[in-house]
């Protein structure tokens, strides 16, 4: 059985995505799950340090150029088992060469009074 990883047909080659690495797990606020929900705001300082505000936390990170880049694979025709062919196809959708690593412990944001927008 062979699964082929084909380069997705797109003009200008493969897209480049970015990886964001967070410590621990991300839990949804609502019971409806993560899909569609907000994670937070990603800023950069003028020196290029990434700053992520997630809920009541501020996370400071650093930009890491990956020694070993990642390929992002998406299963083609997922959810449809093919009874005739054994071939699973994975599309190489993007490459990731950079990651934003947030390793420092988050700083909690202390609020006294909720500010009206």
């Amino acid at each position: 059985e062979a699964a082929s990883l084909t380069h997705s047909e797109g003009a200008g080659g493969l897209a480049e995505w970015v990886l964001v690495e967070l410590q621990g797990e991300v839990e949804p606020r609502q019971s409806s799950g993560l899909a569609g929900s907000l994670l937070g705001d990603l800023h950069y300082t003028r020196e290029g340090v990434p700053v992520l505000i997630v809920g009541h936390h501020i996370l400071y990170g650093k930009v890491v150029q990956l020694e070993k880049p990642f390929a992002v694979l998406v299963k083609k025709g997922a959810g449809e088992p093919d009874p005739t062919g054994p071939h699973t196809h994975y599309n190489v959708t993007a490459l990731i060469k950079t990651k934003l690593l947030f390793k420092t412990r988050p700083k909690p944001i202390i609020t006294n009074v909720p500010k009206k927008v």
Binding site: T6, L22, L34, L42, H43, I53, V63, V74
Partner: protein, 390 residues
């Protein structure tokens, strides 16, 4: 509802961050509707693979249900393993780095980025030896015995084309094609076939007898004359195939010649002699062997590495057939098998039987350190098993 500039600024204020110290652009990250579906996988790329993908080349994952999956590029094979991380990895399309934001002065607003997926594991690759033992096994299901084969023509056997082999063998295309050459396989009616050994020797014998009767130099055997003289005995493709298998093809003055490979021919003849008994008296064997090889060739024991083993402890000394390709492919199993054949091995004797196990940067020495224990015997260093062999 998408976040507004006002909301972003309010958050900054609450967080007591000074907007003046930040770049004006902000990414508002949210999870795409498909983010949790788990259809996105991360594959960590070994050096060279990224460039292959960028050049538009494909990678293939190969493996039957009972095999551990490997990833193949055009010419290399990699083991695949899941690596877990205690962290959460989010993959974000269209997320810009600070450099990109600085370079593009127009972006000073909100960038709504959707997280395409997330994972806490990824596939790790490690270059491995191509798993080629199966190739020989498949082709040995139905070796080609020549046009006069006595085989029952009503029996149907699987025939393997290059495409078939690519989907069945856990190796890259180049590694497979190279191995086909090594085992002297040939294409007959579109399928790859390995010659039945007796038939192969029959073909070789036709050629060596002709060389002898024509008194040709072993390094200048003309293709044209071979085909003319032997074409009535065997198919021309088979004559050319045997010349290619046991010689080096070259062109001189517009004619095709072959420089016959002394070592390969002597080795094949040794196999032919040795397969007839469990073991032979070494001196007797060497005499018969030298008499059997073509005039002008010298039979030497070092031609038999990985094919036969000499027992220097028996009186008289003996030699027996032991083909490395008949031994297990996996490292530990290979060593177990070797140590059950002989308890203690010198490095010289064992090397031909473990050389093919060496991974990219491994040496025979590192393999021996890992899988064997050394001791001294009569002033010579020998290796034996680390564990008891039943």
């Amino acid at each position: 509802a998408m976040r507004s500039r006002a909301e972003v600024d309010a958050t900054l204020q609450t967080a007591k961050l000074n907007p003046a110290e930040l770049l004006p652009a902000v990414h508002c990250l949210s999870f795409s509707p498909q983010a949790g579906a788990g259809e996105c996988y991360l594959l960590q790329l070994e050096p060279g693979l990224c460039a292959e993908l960028e050049a538009g080349r494909s990678l293939v994952i190969r493996g039957e249900k009972d095999e551990q999956a490997v990833l193949c590029s055009k010419d290399k094979t990699y083991d695949m393993k899941i690596a877990d991380t205690s962290n959460m990895l989010l993959f974000i399309p269209g997320c810009k780095t600070a450099e990109q934001l600085n370079a593009d002065q127009a972006s000073c607003d909100i960038i709504h980025s959707q997280i395409a997926g997330f994972s806490n594991n990824y596939w790790e690759l490690r270059r491995c030896r191509p798993k080629l033992k199966k190739l020989r096994k498949l082709l040995m299901e139905d070796p080609y015995e020549g046009p006069d084969s006595q085989k029952d023509p009503t029996l149907t056997f699987s025939k393997y084309t290059t495409e078939d082999l690519l989907s069945l063998i856990q190796a890259s295309e180049e590694e497979i094609l190279h191995q086909l050459q090594v085992i002297n396989a040939c294409k007959i009616e579109g399928s790859w076939r390995i010659l039945e050994f007796d038939y192969e020797m029959k073909l070789l014998n036709h050629v060596t007898q002709l060389i002898d009767s024509e008194s040709w130099s072993l390094s200048k055997v003309p293709l044209r004359t071979c085909l003319e003289e032997l074409g009535s005995l065997e198919p021309k493709e088979m004559i050319e195939h045997i010349l290619l298998s046991y010689g080096r093809r070259y062109i001189d003055d517009g004619e095709i010649y072959f420089e016959m490979h002394e070592d390969k021919i002597c080795r094949a003849i040794a196999q032919m002699l040795l397969q007839n008994a469990v073991k032979f008296n070494l001196l007797e064997f060497q005499e018969v062997w030298q008499q059997s090889v073509p005039e002008g060739m010298t039979a030497r024991l070092d031609q038999l590495k990985g094919l036969a083993l000499v027992d220097k402890t028996s009186r008289p000394e003996t030699i027996f057939l032991l083909k490395v390709e008949d031994l297990p492919e996996e490292n530990q199993e290979r060593f177990n098998s070797l140590f059950s054949i002989r308890e203690k091995w010198t490095e010289v004797d064992i090397t031909p039987y473990i050389q093919d196990l060496c991974a990219e940067k491994q040496t025979v020495g590192t393999l021996l350190t890992k899988y064997a224990r050394s001791s001294m015997q009569n002033g010579v260093k020998v290796y034996n098993s680390r564990r008891p062999i039943s």
